[in-house]
């Protein structure tokens, strides 16, 4: 929906406190030069707040904070914004912070529920932290933007009223069904025509809770699984990383010759069609390499294509170059290299550019110097990606190698901008110079999303500065969008929670944005230099493996960690972290998990959802020349539908067994040994334990349910079948998509108590 977004008029409705002369009304005007043109609380004791009242209910799109012309200790380092139709029932619209500078900042506000816009009449700003500790909170200027045209707002208001009404009724229906208030349930349903859930779940409830027909339930659940109803649940689960060392099939006696040796600063690329990896060059600790290898994944076979590509008309030995592969045309391109400053000469500082034709096993020198063709100068630690559809390479960043004669050693380093190379016409185009909008860098990540046609650029280093920004470059119109400028302190707590905020990358200026459902799940990987990243255009995810820091001073940072960025949800999650750094630990683990490293290579087969990791520098201070030659496969696992189905069956059979054991311990025993045992996951220790416990209940004197102090049912006495089956039903519906099921919440939990 694209509306005409305009500034919204508001008045000050309420404020927690204010200091003399710093009345809240001051925020109406933007006077960056006036020290006193602000609201200031009278203390820094929470809770402090401002409640603004809009002239009319509106869909509020964004909030802009004006600031003082200089930094100011009273600026809000952290704040929240709430909104609602009344001042006593509001929902959180934003949690963020201001930079301590003079630049006004605009933040999009949550204004959708369930993909519908909702109106607000009141906006509450709650300061949480100031930049100067224990200073009072000041807000200089606030502007709200949105739509208050009643033609737009009225339908939203209608939808919102109906939505709340419907949700209220659904909570009632759920409660009544749980309590077996059949008549009230039916009367309410008949009158309101609100559905509690999808008919398949009503059927499940009937079969399970009312009838106790467990066989029918298993059939229902099986059908649901087959129809893909568990997919949403699965996609909401966190990945679990599974590392497997790849042992190549040895061909012949000299097996070690038949796989690439230790190295760092090499390149890898994958041909998705043939499932073949190509590995080229690198530094083995003593010298640059020029060997080219392929690895055929189905047969687990390494093949040495060339020991020295220079001998075959290809590039000379090199490291810190970049490589990419066009699997449609079976071409590999390689650009850039690192040369020790002592080795540099006028002549070898030219940026040669090669193409390797896989099918014909033939190297072509496209040009001796891309700079002469309008492309980049000789660079290293840059990034190259390929747009296979448009046959275009994108090259961004990297440091330009310069001749270090005449004491130029300390001259300012030069970083290379963004270039494109159109393969069919052999044309270089400079898209951007190194500039403030797109700051060049080394050691960053750049990924091309072939469907969105966007370059994702993040992290990297620029001289002493570690960058932590996250940008999108639209390759078709050259537009740059900042997902996160990285200047906000995005703390990552020990539970992986973050204080930061990332705004949806696809959020346009004039569209009203989708927002994260769960603000607490936002996390970001820390600023990095040696991370390796891949992109999955099917799942719309970016994967980042953070490695060891190249900078020794930073080696106490997080070691191995694996992050997934969900592009549509603008959400980072850390799915794996190993902060161990002891040598003993890693000696023990070396065949189970890759040791932390840098200068390694990671490539991704997004068709088969497999990452490949090879080599790198383990950063051993005592053995600086050691490089790695280990080869790993990484799969990001989520429960499979089959797995979930088994889990559902296990739950059904467990409850069935418990019912059976009350009336007929004999047949319960048989059921346990046969039917229940059949669906146990013997790898799951908890389930196995539970299974053994279940057996033991049979031999107790009588059924002692609730023998322990069970919170849920404490005080309600022993439960009947209906209640227990309801509990099971609630467990089972967790696997179904939320829009099909009864509400998650319970009416009694919403009762305000105080």
């Amino acid at each position: 929906m694209a509306f005409k977004i305009a500034a919204l008029n508001y008045s000050i409705f309420k404020c927690s406190s204010y200091s003399y002369n710093y009345a809240p009304e001051n925020i109406h005007v933007d006077k960056p030069t006036d020290q006193s043109s602000r609201w200031s609380s009278d203390s820094n004791h929470p809770p402090q707040f401002l409640i603004l009242k809009l002239e009319q209910p509106a869909i509020v799109d964004s909030i802009t904070f004006g600031k003082y012309e200089k930094t100011h200790v009273c600026n809000l380092k952290k704040f929240k914004v709430y909104g609602g139709l009344t001042d006593d029932h509001m929902i959180e619209l934003l949690e963020s912070g201001l930079k301590n500078d003079h630049v006004p900042e605009t933040f999009p506000l949550k204004n959708e529920i369930d993909c519908h816009h909702f109106p607000c009449r009141f906006i509450k700003i709650v300061p949480i932290q100031t930049w100067g500790p224990s200073f009072n909170f000041s807000i200089w200027h606030v502007q709200l933007h949105g739509v208050d045209d009643s033609d737009v707002v009225r339908p939203c208001m209608n939808w919102y009223t109906n939505y709340r009404e419907k949700e209220a009724i659904r909570l009632c229906l759920k409660h009544f069904r749980q309590r077996q208030y059949v008549e009230a349930y039916e009367a309410l349903q008949k009158k309101t025509r609100v559905d509690l859930e999808h008919p398949i779940l009503t059927e499940l409830h009937n079969q399970l809770v009312t009838q106790g027909n467990y066989d029918a339930c298993e059939n229902l659940i099986t059908r649901a699984c087959e129809e893909g109803l568990f997919e949403q649940y699965i996609s909401d689960q966190e990945y679990k990383p599974k590392w497997t060392p790849i042992e190549p099939v040895s061909a012949g006696s000299e097996s070690f010759d038949n796989r690439p040796g230790m190295r760092g600063g090499h390149q890898m690329a994958i041909d998705l069609h043939t499932e073949t990896l190509y590995l080229y060059g690198g530094w083995d600790g003593n010298q640059d390499l020029a060997d080219l290898w392929s690895y055929h994944s189905p047969s687990k076979q390494w093949t040495c294509i060339s020991r020295d590509t220079a001998e075959e008309g290809g590039p000379c030995a090199r490291s810190c170059h970049k490589m990419c592969l066009d699997y449609e045309r079976k071409q590999i391109f390689t650009l850039g290299r690192y040369l020790d400053s002592s080795m540099r000469t006028e002549c070898n500082l030219k940026s040669d550019f090669y193409m390797y034709d896989i099918e014909n096993n033939k190297w072509t020198l496209i040009t001796e110097d891309t700079a002469a063709m309008g492309g980049p100068k000789l660079i290293f630690d840059h990034q190259v990606v390929i747009d296979i559809e448009q046959q275009t390479l994108f090259v961004f960043g990297g440091r330009v190698l310069a001749c270090t004669t005449e004491g130029e050693r300390n001259s300012t380093p030069q970083f290379s901008g963004l270039f494109s190379y159109h393969i069919p016409t052999n044309t270089w185009t400079k898209l951007r110079d190194d500039c403030s909008e797109l700051r060049s860098r080394i050691g960053h990540s750049m990924l091309f999303h072939p469907k969105k046609r966007i370059l994702f650029i993040f992290a990297g280093q620029r001289s002493k500065e570690y960058l932590n920004d996250f940008l999108m470059y639209n390759v078709d119109d050259g537009r740059i969008e900042i997902i996160s400028d990285g200047t906000k302190k995005e703390m990552t707590g020990s539970d992986g929670r973050s204080q930061g905020i990332s705004v949806g990358p696809t959020a346009g200026i004039n569209t009203i944005r989708h927002f994260l459902k769960d603000f607490s799940k936002r996390s970001v990987p820390s600023a990095g230099f040696t991370q390796r990243a891949t992109l999955d255009p099917q799942t719309d995810e970016i994967h980042v493996l953070s490695g060891l820091s190249k900078d020794k001073d930073k080696r106490d940072n997080v070691k191995n960690s694996f992050w997934v960025y969900d592009i549509p949800k603008s959400k980072w999650s850390c799915i794996y972290k190993n902060e161990n750094s002891g040598q003993q630990y890693w000696t023990k683990m070396q065949h189970i998990e890759p040791v932390p490293r840098f200068a390694h290579q990671l490539v991704y087969d997004h068709v088969r959802k497999i990452h490949y990791l090879f080599g790198g520098n383990p950063g051993k201070e005592s053995l600086p020349k050691v490089r790695l030659d280990d080869f790993w496969c990484l799969k990001l696992c989520r429960p499979s539908p089959v797995n979930l189905l088994r889990r559902c069956k296990y739950l059904l059979r467990k409850y069935r067994f418990q019912e059976l054991s009350e009336v007929n311990p004999q047949s319960a025993m048989i059921y346990l040994q046969k039917d229940l045992a059949a669906v146990i996951d013997h790898n799951d220790t908890r389930e196995t334990q539970e299974f053994h416990l279940l057996a033991s209940t049979l031999f107790r004197s009588g059924i002692e349910e609730n023998d322990s102090y069970d919170d849920k049912n404490f005080g309600t006495g022993s439960r009947n079948h209906y209640d227990r089956r309801t509990e099971l039903f609630d467990l089972l519906v967790e696997f179904f998509p939320e829009n099909m099921t009864q509400p998650k919440g319970n009416l009694v939990d919403l009762i305000p108590l105080c």
Copy 2:
């Protein structure tokens, strides 16, 4: 209920974060000498928390925080505690802060809802502020106390489950009735047997909303008012102070001679039976006075009983003495005085003690020196109260006058302890010396509650220190209880909100305590020296009039303010505040409101609910000798039942008129002019304005309800009678006691949105 309260076992269930080595489990042990024996968050960014899980559900009575042996920047200056049966549905149990010292602190926790104890399984501690700004939060040791005996907890759990169930059903019933889901309403009510409200309100709903029988409604409401049903509403309203200057009836020509002159440091006492005030002594700016006056309130007549009591065998001229009156036996006692250091001699530093027999107009010197009788030495700025039933005086505090010979001017001031004096046996008893448990002081307040038999002691000064504590001394068993130790920074925001907490004074160690319903209403008067306080044993309230500070440095403090402390609710509220200090303002206002002052006198007639204020020092720097002789009467007003009844009738007639105007503008006009006009409060500008507006709606073309953007009904179109009458019904039930009415909340407002 007195249970056996014991320490409760808990485990750490969850924590927001922790710093290396400072794991949350450390809080189990109390090692004040061990720097590292604590939980410490890994940042000071909110939200940080610890969730503790109790071994068993328990009624949690209190929480004790152990501390480090020294002050520590990471100590919690402010925190909250929540509790619940699950970790995702908790309610606030406490908001408080720790002192930055080494002394463990114990806080009672809210554990009652609706006068019933409720159980918790999870306790969440949420740090909000540290003592050192921007330091991480540390908690050294936590102990929880309460009852987890299942014989005690089980019934509470049952009650709690049923309570929540009942409240949920009542919300449903309210919603269904509003929406006219008649069948669902009846089915639910029949099944659950939960009553939505008192039958009289159901009848009101029927007559009003269903039938539209407005006459019957007026009758119902009138009956409710007569039966005292509005009393609770009235008692929940804030007082409004009404000051009236008392113009004494002049007797004869020399009227000014017939009323006491300007003075400060005088004493007043009231005879409740005869409604007569007695005023004695004081300092007129130049000299001490010895005149004794009476003021008969019904006749508004001052009488000078004696120009100089010394001449009649009474005390010599004096100020800063204290006086109290036994209205049963018509006796006035006076003790103590101030003497300028230059005037002191060995001889006149004896503490004489006089009794005045009102009926016989006769002074008796009880003793020349109470110190010689085991009573206090000569003191000033102390407090004396009388227990009329037991014929006992209590004397507390005051500074002992010492002879200032031989350069003793700078010797440590001596403060007097707590004494009792039994009148019939003429016996002095020293109850407490000046000690840490009951620190002596000057300029404090002490009030005796004759029913509770408790002395309430608060505020005052001790050398340079202004005290802000609030204590109870039980006169029968000598037990001291601290309501608030006053060391917590109890900020009072500009809206009168406070961050502090005051714990119920009647809370015993082994009883589980009542708590404030609305934590946001807690406020406390600031530490004071010149406050004047009174106690109403019928309403269980303490009143405090804060005056001008004697200390010139503190004169920029709050000027006049009036506070009421509700003893059973442990709640302070500020009902009046006037921060004006300009001379011009007070010249204009001098006959409307008393100017700020100190050394004045305030007495209270709790039978007629009238305060009397006389004289004092206005603290004019330019005219240091000026004292006041103004005389004021203060009434604390709340709406009367008659007033409320009128308001209800007004509302009923307004809605009736609106209905009428839609069908018959002609008779609506007549109704407006006759019936509606009859119930208008013409002093209420809003009501009067509304009345005029109502008339004008008749002359518009058609009925344009919702012509403005009305939030509530936006999108639902024009409302029918049922909805409008429901709105009126909701307004009317506000005046009824909460336990009689439908729930305040609305189901739709409880729907979680995000």
